[in-house]
């Protein structure tokens, strides 16, 4: 969340993040485990998400698909010249 804010400059709401991560977990792309309780959280534990193998593969697939689509755009379309 902080990273996105730093790098992309947009705010994300924590509940949206929770929702996405829960969906990914249902699909089996991430697993979760409970972390240690901390003082800052009032003694509550944190849920830590880890990527699984199928998650990694899904990421790669998505990335690949995206690049494939991008490469199919003709050069001409990307050139903007003042006529």
């Amino acid at each position: 969340m902080d990273e996105i804010e730093k790098q992309a400059g947009r705010n994300m709401n924590i509940s949206a993040v929770h929702a996405v991560l829960t969906r990914l977990e249902d699909k089996g792309f991430v697993t979760s485990k409970m972390g240690d309780p901390t003082q800052e959280r009032g003694g509550r534990r944190k849920r830590i998400f880890l990527l699984t193998a199928s998650g990694k593969r899904a990421l790669e697939e998505v990335n690949e698909l995206r690049n494939q689509l991008f490469n199919q755009i003709p050069k001409v379309a990307l050139q903007f010249k003042l006529v």
Partner: protein, 876 residues
């Protein structure tokens, strides 16, 4: 102080809605973010952010799932049913009591709702019913006159001509103002006097929807001398032959062609008829054209309007209409009003209705009775169920221990009460089926049992067990499900929970019953007073003979002489209407009035006041010796004198009328009730009519006073004389007092029904009391036994037991009396003559309630007093 924690309420809200499995890390996350934002910015921003996050987390996937396990609900209901069945069988007595009491209550409710629905269904079978209006004429000045449901002949046509855009069609009914009309088959083999024969316009079938079996609605009544009759009349006159094309002889001189056969008129119309004759036929009776008088108002007139909205503007145009057409001397006293067809049966109480109508107050009274009885039955149910609650404490404790939630327990007990209600409804339907014939004859209706299959009633029957079950079962369910498992399982607590509430309910029950009892008593009193008390004229031993339009005109004097020859016939006279039931209204211009005014009037023949024993208070009676009496003399009553403002009865004598000095009032009679006692006595004019034409319409009845000895012989003797003088005209008669009883038919019916239903309500209340006392006896068995062991005598125990119930009844009485008084005063206000509310009645009702309650409790109290203490205490 530094703020270190987020707003508590938001936190609690989160804890409330959030699924416990997810709560920990969600809560942790937003707390962490809170701390961060606290450090980065100020407290208020952090708070806002926190609250915003709490609400953002309010998503479907995070919310608590209800703990109900729906997959097993079918099995649960099966279990509930088994438990219910066992409980029922184990305590057959109570359960039966419960069900039976409720069944009676529901049966009463059903019967009365059948009645009310029938009353409201009058006249609704016509497709255009909402656009049909009847026109009423109110002819009054200074509050005296007539409020007539019928109008002059020409009104309908004139109305339609003037307001063509609003009035589509009009229909008139006319029956020659004769109570019966003679009709016979063409060969005179069958002749009868028909009371329900009407002349009507050919537009009749365009306005009303009566089913025609033979013939064509468009043409059946369009030609002169046609008649349409109902099925049963066809059978009466023609047997099994087809009546179409045959003739009926009307009035001995007119042949009418049968042009149609109608289905019998259903009971729920405000006018019922057997014959309809085409209006054109009347022209022959009135010298070739319809009567054109705007004064004489004998036609019931119905209008079919274009739409409902036309009614108001049409009525507003009436005053102008009256001014335009009605003759000058009555113009200013007349107003015409429109009355919707569907309202006539319950709300129209005008003079000269075709048939007496019912009234809305009766319907309201019945509805309240039905609600009372049902309420009492429901209260019974609640009481008995809560009283027995402690018996099921262990079961409730067990269920809760094994994981039952409160909601489940409530469902269980609601289910049980609904099952009981269902059984009650089934029994109630049975009771209704059995009681319906008796109820029908009591209310003079014809309600078929199959009406329960109608959509409306099916819905009611399904709704009843559900709603009564829920209402009656809600309180016991909540009481039962609130038992704490520990206390329930620990020991058998005989503590009576909710005793005060139950007591309150019993008080309500008995108050309602006592109010019903008192109400019935007052109604019966009022009815008695109306019927029995002195009307100011003799009613007993007076025979009335309808003579309208009969050929008696020429033979009246000789017939009268013949009648009087019999020593048992004391006096003979003729009178315009049935004395005490109806009267007519005439316009008179008396000395001191600037224009003629309407007054109630009765045309009579000589010996009127002698026959009816009406005392003469001033002046003289009409005398046969003074020939001019019938045109130059009038008699009035005391109320008339008062109304005119003359100071004494003597002053009235000699006052002139019709602006001629030789026309004077010659006598004043004592006030008597010439119409029903629903209304106060109004001024009356007695007009002597000795003309032969008088018998056509003015003198409708002969009245003969007989001595009361040898009545059958007197009557057959009269019949012989009649036959001798007036052959070919059947002799019909009736006794005046029988006829007058019909005036109060509505109240009679009502008092009978309230009597029965208050009896039933007391029965139901007592059933409840019985159940309750049985239960209390059981509860307090131990206490009673200990008292006996310690030396209490039988009587003491008995008194102790009964005391608490008596107190309740006493309080119910105190509550009921003022309420009953207020309600009765309101009802009596609708009568002109009111009976005084007798306070001994209240006492009597109280005693009755106490007495009945006593008998109910007696049995249990005696049993409690006589139980052997050893039996009860041996397990301690």
């Amino acid at each position: 102080m530094l703020k270190t924690s987020p707003p508590k309420w938001a936190d609690r809200f989160l804890e409330w809605y959030c699924n416990p499995a997810l709560l920990e890390h969600i809560q942790g996350d937003i707390h962490e973010l809170y701390q961060r934002s606290l450090r980065a910015r100020n407290g208020r921003m952090a708070d806002c952010l926190f609250i915003w996050n709490v609400f953002r987390f309010f998503r479907w996937s995070n919310i608590k799932r209800s703990r109900k396990n729906s997959s097993s609900s079918f099995m649960m209901y099966k279990n509930y049913f088994t438990v219910f069945k066992r409980g029922f069988v184990k305590q057959k007595g109570y359960s039966f009591l419960n069900i039976f009491g409720l069944a009676i209550g529901i049966a009463c409710f059903l019967l009365i709702s059948l009645y009310v629905r029938d009353e409201y269904s009058f006249d609704r079978m016509h497709a255009k019913a909402d656009r049909i209006y009847r026109v009423h004429e109110i002819f009054e000045s200074d509050g005296v006159g007539e409020r007539s449901a019928s109008l002059p002949f020409p009104v309908a046509e004139a109305l339609q001509n003037d307001h063509e855009s609003q009035i589509l069609k009009y229909v008139r009914f006319f029956n020659l103002q004769a109570p019966v009309l003679p009709l016979a088959t063409i060969d005179n083999t069958k002749e009868f006097h028909e009371a329900r024969l009407f002349f009507t316009d050919s537009t009749f079938f365009d306005v009303f929807d009566f089913r025609i079996l033979k013939g064509d609605t468009k043409s059946a009544l369009s030609k002169t001398n046609s008649i349409v009759l109902t099925e049963s009349m066809a059978r009466k006159y023609f047997g099994d032959e087809d009546p179409m094309g045959k003739y009926l002889r009307f009035h001995g001189n007119t042949n009418l062609l049968v042009t149609g056969v109608l289905e019998d008129v259903p009971a729920n119309t405000h006018f019922q008829f057997d014959f309809l004759v085409s209006f054109q036929t009347l022209k022959a009776f009135y010298d070739g054209a319809f009567p054109t008088s705007w004064h004489w108002n004998p036609c019931w007139t119905y209008l079919l309007l274009k739409d409902r909205e036309s009614a108001a503007p049409l009525e507003a145009a009436m005053p102008a209409f009256v001014q335009k057409y009605f003759p000058e001397f009555i113009r200013n006293d007349i107003s015409l009003k429109l009355f919707p067809l569907t309202d006539i049966h319950l709300k129209s109480h005008m003079d000269y209705e075709i048939q007496p109508n019912s009234s809305l107050t009766t319907v309201y009274v019945f509805v309240s009775i039905a609600v009372f009885v049902l309420l009492i039955a429901c209260i019974n149910f609640v009481n008995l169920s809560t009283a027995r609650a402690t018996k099921r404490a262990k079961e409730v404790g067990m269920r809760k221990t094994l994981g039952g939630q409160r909601a489940q327990l409530i469902t269980q007990f609601l289910f049980e009460s609904m099952m009981l209600c269902l059984l009650s409804v089934l029994i109630a339907i049975l009771i209704v089926a059995i009681a319906l014939p008796a109820f029908n004859s009591l209310t003079e209706k014809n309600i078929p049992i199959t009406i329960l299959l109608e959509r409306y009633f099916l819905g009611l029957l399904i709704l009843l067990p559900l709603s009564v079950g829920v209402i009656s079962g809600a309180y016991p369910a909540f009481v039962l499900s609130s038992f704490k498992p520990i206390t329930a399982l620990k020991s058998t607590i005989n503590q009576e929970r909710g005793a005060t509430f139950r007591k309150a309910l019993v008080i309500v029950q008995f108050s309602l019953s006592i109010i019903l009892l008192i109400g019935t008593g007052v109604a019966i009193d009022q009815l008695d007073m109306l019927q029995q008390s002195d009307t100011g004229f003799t009613r007993k031993n007076i025979i009335m003979i309808p003579v309208t339009r009969s050929p008696i005109a020429k033979n009246y004097e000789s017939l009268k002489a013949e009648f009087l020859r019999n020593p048992n016939t004391l006096s003979v006279t003729g009178v315009e209407e049935i004395l005490g039931a109806k009267h007519q209204v005439g316009s008179f211009l008396f000395e001191g009035l600037t224009e003629s005014r309407p007054f109630p009037r009765l045309n009579t023949r000589h010996d009127f006041i002698k026959t009816f024993d009406i005392p003469l208070v001033a002046g003289r009676d009409y005398s046969e010796d003074i020939v001019t009496d019938d045109s130059l003399a009038l008699m009035v009553n005391e109320q008339f004198v008062k109304q005119m403002g003359w100071k004494s009865n003597e002053e009235a004598l000699g006052k002139t009328f019709d602006q001629r000095s030789n026309r004077v009032i010659i006598g004043v009679v004592k006030d008597f009730n010439f119409t029903s006692r629903h209304q106060p006595i109004r001024p009356l004019v007695l007009d002597l009519n000795t003309t032969e034409r008088g018998f056509e319409i003015r003198i409708k009845y002969l009245a003969v006073k007989i001595s009361g000895k040898d009545i059958p012989e007197t009557i057959s003797w009269m019949q012989q004389q009649w036959k001798a003088q007036i052959p070919g005209w059947p002799f019909q008669y009736f006794f005046l007092e029988n006829n007058l009883e019909n005036l109060y038919k509505a109240e009679n019916k009502m008092s009978k029904i309230t009597l029965i239903f208050s009896g039933l309500s007391i029965l139901v209340a007592c059933l409840g009391l019985f159940g309750l006392s049985t239960f209390t006896a059981e509860q307090r068995k131990k206490e009673m036994s200990i008292r006996k062991v310690l030396g209490g005598s039988d009587t003491e125990i008995f008194m102790l037991f009964s005391k608490r119930f008596f107190l309740l009844i006493l309080i119910s009485n105190l509550v009921a009396f003022p309420l009953a008084y207020i309600l009765m005063k309101q009802w009596l206000a609708t009568f002109a003559y009111q009976v005084n509310i007798d306070f001994t009645l209240f006492l009597f009702a109280a005693l009755a309630a106490v007495g009945i309650a006593f008998i109910t409790i007696c049995y249990q109290a005696l049993r409690a007093a006589h139980t052997n203490p050893a039996e009860v205490l041996k397990n301690e």
